[in-house]
């Protein structure tokens, strides 16, 4: 079974600075997807960024980028120029890429990010 681990229950950063959230995962699959989701106090889970395992290039979405290390099974999220609106719970998630079977998401335990003004 696949597992996702986020070892940082809480992180904080000064506004406008950079912060990195860590995630490791365990799988025997060679093809899969990895995601970072943001869950603000409104509870709505919002997709921040996704990475296909077969792509060597790290995904980037504006101020958000990832460092994907396939051999190490590591998938960290870097937030640059942190803004107050970035404060939320961040979840790392894994999904198999096989065609057969339902594509459930496997989530980590989450990291609570606080932005200090």
């Amino acid at each position: 079974a696949q597992t996702v681990t986020q070892s940082q229950p809480e992180m904080s950063v000064q506004e406008a600075e950079t912060v990195t959230l860590s995630c490791t995962y365990d799988t025997s699959e060679s093809d899969y997807y990895l995601f970072w989701y943001k869950q603000p106090p409104s509870r709505q889970m919002i997709l921040v960024i996704r990475q296909e395992a077969y792509k060597q290039q790290n995904a980037t979405e504006n101020r958000f980028s990832v460092n994907f290390q396939k051999a190490a099974k590591s998938f960290s999220l870097k937030i640059s120029d942190s803004q107050l609106g970035d404060a939320a719970m961040y979840f790392c998630a894994y999904r198999r890429a096989e065609i057969q079977g339902a594509q459930k998401l496997v989530f980590g335990q989450g990291t609570r990010l606080t932005i200090n003004p």
Binding site: V4, Y37, S42, R43, Q44, M45, I46, L47, R50, F91, A93, I99, G101, A102, Q103, K104, L105, V106, F107, G108, Q109, G110
Partner: protein
């Protein structure tokens, strides 16, 4: 374009009762997945519906059941409620089973 909607927003039930939660998928989506998120935890997969059939199930007892209607909306039913069923229940929809899942705002269920 309406996103994923869920009802009700909050619900309080007593142990032993039954509850039904509802989800309407995003326009153009035909697949609905349900997740349970206990306080302070990541969401756990309950099951997924596609073409009105349950396609895969997570590690949840038979007290948890679901249904998908021809218009792709879905219901989650939980029987014989336990205190441990208190959680945020999230619905996610996607276009087909292999595409991005978009989440609704969730239903907060409290069992007393």
């Amino acid at each position: 374009d309406a996103g994923v909607t869920q009802s009700p927003t909050h619900l309080i039930k007593t142990r032993g009762q039954q509850v039904t939660l509802r989800c309407s998928p995003k326009s153009g989506h035909d697949t609905v997945s349900w997740y349970q998120q206990a306080l302070g935890q990541g969401p756990q997969f309950i099951f997924q519906y596609y073409e009105e059939e349950e396609r895969q199930r997570g590690n949840f007892p038979d007290r948890f059941s679901g249904h998908q209607f021809p218009n792709y909306s879905s219901e989650l039913n939980v029987n014989a409620l336990l205190l441990g069923d208190s959680a945020l229940y999230l619905c996610a929809s996607s276009r087909g089973r292999f595409y991005e899942q978009y989440f609704g705002p969730g239903t907060r269920l409290t069992v007393t």
